[in-house]
């Protein structure tokens, strides 16, 4: 069955000030209705200040990272979209005509990008409105209906989230920073829009539900009407929105209180030169430049700071070895310590030094991992850490002595091995490793034990 899915995504832009006034934007951290002024509460007579330049710049950068063409050299009107709801202090929301269009991300076409302002927060139960959020800048991203399954849609949203985070220009914290409307149509049915979705998971579930609902309807020979529905997160279903909420005409008019935006080519080129490389393109470049695996590249670009760190390390150590370490051991250490790449305190040079020691076999990978853990706690020269941790490579004679001793003390295991039980080797290796307090490479130990035992047999 042919399914078409598209998104309208609203993401808060991380600015210090609101879109059309100078109120701070940290609405979650303050008491209700304290970040407000006559402008963002729509007091009679209040007029907007000129649009927040930081927000405009962020929207341009986001659009560029999504491969959009920026609308330059022509007037971009800020429009008033009228609707009657308690969270909207002036009875209209300001939204720009597209500032960019015709982008693409992972095969999904981006139709257009707008600048908007957030309304306040209405609590229908208490009957109160908090206008702290009113006027916080938003970027609205509209896609073409290019996704064909909920899985594909979910993947797109995840990648999009990563791109947005990469810009460093969006509000990262959870709690309504990203809101999504999805539209979905099945072959033979009308286009259904679902609102009130606040997470990637929510979008996936709403889509799953809608496909079943619409498919069943079509199977029964009923028609799927074009309509707007609301997602109920708690029940994971969608319900029709009241006609009143959808039929109302928004009556767009250009806001007479704001000069239209005009974006100059020069400004866009400057932004393009300064912008971060989008993660999906960076992934491709890392694979080609360093010859690393897609799996490793994917992990490395998952955070912008991690990718920056990787490229710094790759300058001073084997990029392939570094990639496999980033993908496995470093990621493991960061996860264990609940750190983000941005929180890493040791330097790329220290990490590179450690990897060079691994490469030259001065330390075993297991030892190096211990060093890495220590590095994450207290940045230092890895050579010194090796010494401090007592991880000096041992002499061959000491290793040999230890093996002989272990074999002597564990005759039973030796016999098991002779009887064909391969696991016995692992047991013996562990014993040797324990005796040497981890100062030897377990692969080497195993190899020596086998050598000794085979020699004895012959």
């Amino acid at each position: 069955m042919n399914i078409k899915i598209g998104f309208e995504i609203h993401q808060q832009i991380a600015t210090r000030r609101k879109m059309y006034c100078n109120c701070p934007t940290n609405y979650q951290e303050v008491l209700p209705n304290t970040n407000v002024c006559p402008i963002c509460t729509g007091m009679p007579g209040a007029k907007p200040l000129p649009p927040n330049e930081q927000a405009v710049a962020a929207a341009i950068e986001i659009a560029l990272m999504l491969g959009c063409k920026i609308v330059t050299g022509q007037t971009i009107y800020i429009q008033r979209k009228h609707y009657d709801y308690p969270d909207l202090p002036s009875g209209y929301q300001r939204t720009s005509l597209p500032i960019a269009c015709d982008g693409e991300l992972q095969g999904v076409r981006i139709r257009e990008i707008h600048l908007e302002e957030d309304p306040g927060q209405y609590d229908p139960v208490a009957g109160t409105v908090d206008f702290n959020r009113s006027g916080v800048p938003l970027v609205e991203i509209v896609t073409e209906p290019d996704m064909k399954s909920p899985e594909e849609a979910r993947k797109f949203l995840r990648i999009l989230t990563r791109v947005l985070e990469y810009t460093g220009k969006v509000r990262p914290e959870a709690g309504g920073a990203m809101r999504t409307d999805v539209n979905i149509s099945l072959e033979g049915g009308g286009r259904v829009e679902v609102k009130n979705i606040n997470s990637v998971k929510g979008a996936y579930r709403a889509l799953k539900y809608e496909i079943i609902r619409q498919r069943e309807k079509l199977k029964r020979g009923e028609t799927v009407r074009r309509e707007t529905r609301a997602f109920l997160e708690s029940q994971m279903i969608t319900v029709p929105m009241r006609a009143k909420e959808t039929e109302e005409d928004d009556r767009y008019i250009p806001d007479p209180d704001i000069f239209p935006l005009i974006l100059e080519d020069k400004r866009v080129e400057l932004a393009r030169a300064k912008m971060a490389e989008p993660p999906h393109l960076r992934e491709r470049r890392l694979i080609e430049k360093y010859g690393i695996s897609r799996a490793a590249a994917e992990v490395i670009v998952s955070e912008r700071e991690l990718a920056d760190f990787y490229e710094a390390v790759a300058k001073e150590a084997d990029p392939k070895l570094a990639a496999s370490w980033f993908r496995t051991k470093l990621k493991k250490v960061l996860n264990y310590m609940k750190l983000r790449a941005a929180d890493i305190r040791f330097t790329p040079a220290q990490m590179a030094g450690l990897l060079r020691m691994v490469k030259s076999k001065r330390v075993t990978p297991e030892q190096a991992e211990l060093v890495l853990r220590e590095l994450a706690k207290r940045p230092a020269d890895p050579q010194e850490l090796v010494l401090e941790l007592g991880l000096i490579p041992i002499e061959k004679s000491e290793l040999k002595a230890a093996i002989l001793k272990v074999l002597e003390e564990n005759e039973r295991a030796v016999e098991d091995y002779r009887a064909g039980k391969r696991e016995a080797i692992n047991f013996l290796t562990g014993k040797v490793l324990g005796m040497l307090k981890g100062r030897a490479d377990p692969r080497k130990i195993t190899k020596y034990i086998i050598d000794v035992l085979e020699k004895r047999r012959s």
């Binding site: 006559p38 009679p44 007579g45 007029k47 009875g91 009556r251």
Partner: protein, 457 residues
């Protein structure tokens, strides 16, 4: 006895007249006569104290502002902290301003004393002063007649001698129309010259705040006080400092090119045209060069204006939804306000946009080009302000008859240019004002022409 507003402010600055006396005289007059005129909705209890503060500073020899001790009334759609910006509507009857409009800040910075809030047509929707929810205002210059609107209270207060100056607003003629009917001076500044921050909207793309004054000097003084860019608003022209009063002293109008249009006689009452034509002859005598200009589409501005203003007014009044200010506007407003909201709601619908709103915007562009082209050939255009004399209070007019008052003033708002009104004469004792239209930021030329006529009267 002081002659004009400029002389009065000098007398106060010198200490020859106390600001507190100035306020006291006006308060007495208001007490005595405003029951009948109904030009004030609320008086500022702090006015005396504000005036005393100015006097104290003068006594100590400190520098005071250019409006020192002058008494100023403010239209009820401009926010003055602590006073009711009711827009003469039940919707906002209990709305006490929490902030000062930018123009009020500037008036205060120059030591003007705000005496109170003037009556007006409800939400500035009206041309007669009769749509106020708090009763109509009477014309002190033509008793029994309307003062014109929508800055009805301001026009009447200045004409009645209740204050030195008033701040009015003009969206389609709301300063010039009462100035004409009341025989005083009024100026609609170039769109974007005066900040609107704190002005409650009628039509955001047309509204301007401007002065109402007994003389040209007073109008020039108040205008230069409130004009100029702020960082506090988007839609302002890049004009930093303006000075009219000093430059008005320079010279007359010798060699100025003064436009007239045969179109005016098609629209205005012949009796009014006779008064206007006399003034045109006077301007010729004063050395002006009279040039005929072509304004073929002038009368198209009015119907287009009422579409645009209705859409903008509809949008601007959505905040009066009954959640924050007591009653919902549609539930309590008068019929002209409701008419405009309903019209705005209707024509801004998606299916009618092309038919009405877009067409109206096209006409606006046409009018702007036409007026700009005419103003390329001349320095100013002079003509009548209103096509007919003010009707008697209580006369029933159809909406179209009421709108017809604005035929000659609306084009200026549509083009975003400036215009001033000065008394031209009287017909059976009823004042008639001459409208002087200027280019974008041509206020000084407009003031010069008005000053010359005033001096020659």
């Amino acid at each position: 006895v002081v002659q004009g507003t400029l002389e009065k402010v000098s007398a106060i600055q010198r200490g020859d007249l106390l600001a507190v006396e100035n306020v006291g005289t006006f308060l007495d007059l208001i007490q005595k006569n405003d029951k009948k005129i109904n030009s004030f909705l609320e008086l500022n209890r702090g006015a005396q104290a504000d005036a005393e503060a100015v006097d104290r500073r003068i006594k100590r020899g400190e520098k005071v502002g250019k409006l020192a001790g002058l008494v100023i009334g403010v239209k009820a759609n401009i926010n003055v902290i602590g006073l009711r910006a009711s827009c003469a509507s039940r919707t906002l009857e209990n709305y006490v301003s929490t902030y000062d409009a930018d123009v009020i800040k500037r008036v205060r910075a120059e030591d003007g004393v705000i005496i109170g809030i003037n009556n007006m047509d409800e939400f500035a929707c009206g041309s007669s002063g009769e749509t106020s929810a708090f009763g109509p205002t009477e014309n002190p210059a033509a008793p029994g007649h309307i003062p014109g609107g929508s800055s009805s209270g301001g026009g009447a207060a200045v004409a009645a001698g209740f204050c030195d100056l008033c701040l009015g607003t003009d969206t389609g003629g709301s300063i010039r129309n009462p100035a004409s009917h009341c025989g005083i001076v009024g100026i609609k500044p170039t769109y974007g010259l005066v900040p609107r921050q704190g002005l409650i909207d009628l039509g955001m793309s047309l509204d301007q705040i401007g002065p109402l004054a007994p003389d040209v000097g007073g109008a020039a003084l108040l205008l230069e006080t409130i004009a100029g860019k702020t960082q506090n608003e988007c839609v302002l022209l890049d004009v930093s400092e303006v000075s009219y009063v000093e430059r008005l002293k320079d010279d007359g109008i010798k060699g100025m090119r003064i436009g007239v249009s045969p179109k005016f006689a098609e629209i205005a009452d012949p009796a009014i045209m006779r008064v206007i034509d006399e003034q045109v002859e006077k301007l010729r005598d004063l050395g002006g060069e009279i040039v005929e200009v072509d304004l073929p589409n002038l009368e198209k501005a009015m119907p287009a204006y009422y579409l645009i203003v209705s859409v903008e007014f509809f949008s601007g009044t959505r905040k009066f939804d009954g959640r924050k200010y007591g009653k919902r506007i549609e539930d309590v407003c008068g019929e002209e306000v409701l008419r405009r909201i309903v019209r705005g709601r209707y024509i801004s619908q998606k299916e009618y946009r092309g038919k009405y709103y877009q067409r109206a915007l096209q006409v606006r562009t046409l009018i702007r080009h036409e007026l700009m082209a005419a103003l390329q050939q001349v320095d100013v255009i002079v003509g009548p302000t209103v096509p007919k004399l003010p009707h008697r209070l209580g006369t029933k007019l159809t909406p179209m008859e009421m709108y017809a008052y604005d035929y000659l003033t609306i084009p200026v708002n549509m083009a975003g240019t400036c215009a001033g009104v000065v008394k031209a004469g009287t017909i059976n004792g009823i004042p008639v004002g001459l409208q002087v239209q200027g280019k974008v930021l041509g206020e000084l030329d407009v003031l010069r022409v008005m000053r010359s006529l005033e001096a020659a009267a």
